[in-house]
Symmetry: C2
Subunit: 378 residues, 2 copies
């Protein structure tokens, strides 16, 4: 690769480059922090006696997923079928789609994927169970199916208890399907800032899961897997005695929103280091209040707030437009072409903006990882 010929256009960096040379905005991962995060979650899960199936929707990167599996994860979660297809192509052998697959063409794709790797999927609708069964039979595969309950999000999932038992019975009776267990995840609970409020919410989630697992057992439908939990709540689910497999995602990279949880030490969250940054450059210092950097709405998700500037006291990311970020700073505190590390508010949709992760160690680029499932929304 010739200097300046492909760098920037095709890739944002080259192995061995210093951070100041990386073409920006770029998504960088601090490998020391990342590896420590993976080890911490492995150790936590081992101590609690639960399995870990990390969520690939956060990183969408096969290099990350393969490292998670190499460190003991049972497989990977995906939120979209095309994500699962991308991970399977990249060598992952066990993918769970923690979502409903209902479109006819998508169901056929799912059944085909189950002929290649181990696949599980969630349901919350009886007609969908029948469609999945027909496709599995047509393709000559067995699909592992989890019944999803609504444990408080008000999103997907059937009502805990009897409705879940009826749906699980339909799965167990359907040709080509195998009843694999229960999916009981509450996304909103991950980000509740107050410790007591979060504890109460998670207790409700666990209670719904526990009662449904009991009802299923009483109906002769034992759960092989009870899955759920995220970076913000996993110690609760992990110690509950109900959950068998945790689905944390953010812990590997972390973000500014998790940084705003008020009792990080009491929770698992405090055990994880910020590994993910958007590296940006100052492209203008013409404004009196500071400078302008090259990372705006196309470089950072702002749904959970503006990014936080890392390591530059007094410098504040004060506003985002499509391609610009306003950096408020004292006179002379930022200079043209200076690199600025930004901690994104929300890791998942930020990672999904990039084709490459620039993996850094000791201030140098160690590797470039493709974001395998970027834009795989289907």
């Amino acid at each position: 690769m010739q200097d300046g010929q492909d760098i920037g256009y095709d890739v944002p960096a080259r192995v061995g480059m210093a951070e100041d040379e990386v073409q920006t905005p770029a998504l960088i991962v601090d490998l020391d922090a990342f590896e420590a995060n993976l080890a911490q979650m492995r150790d936590d899960c081992a101590a609690m006696g639960v399995a870990l199936r990390p969520h690939g929707k956060m990183h969408k990167c096969a290099e990350v997923a393969l490292r998670q599996v190499a460190m003991g994860a049972t497989g990977i979660c995906c939120q979209k079928l095309s994500e699962a297809e991308a991970f399977a192509r990249a060598g992952l052998r066990d993918v769970m789609v923690t979502n409903q697959v209902t479109d006819p063409l998508r169901i056929r794709r799912l059944a085909r994927l189950a002929g290649q790797v181990r696949v599980s999927v969630c349901v919350d609708d009886a007609a969908n169970v029948a469609e999945l069964s027909r496709a599995a039979v047509a393709e000559g595969v067995t699909l592992e199916v989890l019944v999803e309950i609504d444990c408080g999000s008000g999103r997907c999932g059937v009502t805990p208890g009897a409705a879940a038992v009826a749906l699980a019975r339909a799965v167990a009776d359907a040709e080509g399907l195998s009843f694999a267990g229960l999916q009981a995840y509450h996304g909103g609970a991950q980000h509740i800032r107050d410790a007591d409020e979060r504890a109460v919410t998670v207790a409700g989630v666990i209670d719904k899961a526990r009662k449904t697992v009991s009802a299923l057992e009483a109906a002769g439908l034992p759960c092989g897997v009870v899955g759920g939990g995220g970076t913000g709540t996993y110690p609760y689910e992990g110690r509950s005695g109900v959950y068998t497999e945790l689905q944390c995602g953010s812990y590997a990279f972390m973000d500014a929103d998790y940084g705003r949880v008020r009792d990080p030490e009491a929770l698992g969250v405090g055990r994880y280091r910020q590994a993910l940054f958007v590296l940006s450059s100052v492209i203008s210092t013409a404004r009196a209040k500071g400078g302008v950097c090259d990372a705006g709405l196309k470089a950072l998700a702002v749904d959970s707030g503006l990014p936080v500037v890392s390591g530059l006291p007094g410098v504040v990311y004060a506003g985002a437009s499509d391609e610009h970020g306003l950096l408020d700073a004292p006179q002379g505190a930022v200079r043209l072409n200076q690199r600025v590390r930004l901690v994104p508010g929300h890791c998942d949709p930020t990672v999904n903006l990039y084709d490459w992760i620039v993996a850094m160690r000791g201030g140098r680029v160690e590797a470039l990882w493709p974001v395998t499932a970027r834009g795989k929304l289907y």
Copy 2:
């Protein structure tokens, strides 16, 4: 392409498919509306006697840019160098980077690009002018340089008047550079909802541009180009007698935020039709309040508000999470697998999420256009 084999994973659709078969979420463009929008802007600019250089940062799609040029546009604007590189690779011969290019490696790339196609760039810093000059000389090219003024955004650009003249003088005196004119764009003005407030703001912008152009002329530095204006304000700049080239972008596709401008008829905005939609599918109807669709934060930019549901009275997009959208609807108003057209709040960062534009006419897929410069942020 085999049915269900590549569809969804590699591409969201196939030519000839009905809208209900498109794998979702997908970015669709209504070709009739799109073509009408392109014709309307061409006619408006012709009537006002100004040139049009549409902004490619909105669509990032060479198929769109080539159609704009075929209909008389002088060239294309880009906001990032890698966007310009991508458009040049795709056959565009005249690209203006309406932004500062300051990183040393990026400057070398810019100079190289100028050896292949016509390139212009903006400056707001004297040291940057010197760097651009060195690179142009080293590469044996001439870079056309516009001086950017801050006309009220408080972002990039020098103070109008004397500072702009001094910088233009530096450009004109620098080897390898040619002083091309003035860049005077106010992004925030595009989205001011109130007609009077917007008129006052734009009048201020035009006044700053006019005085700077006069000062430059008085200094013997006539502006070949005075560029700026956007979809929300272009009739003002177009009729000002100051601007020579308009840089509108959104008019080709439009979005929900432009739909919220309060006096669309008085403005150009009312002349443009909504051509861009995120096509989504209902994947769950388990919740009592309506359904859940498959387009969330990774499928839609929410910086300018949640998307608006098109053509389904009573159905409201009420909340976005990473991969889900909550559709509040009366009982029975949405059904599983139903396709829902969503008008995104903000077109630019929404388009940047997708690898493909699905071009539709009369309810059928007519073409698949790659989003050429997607993720080209560098």
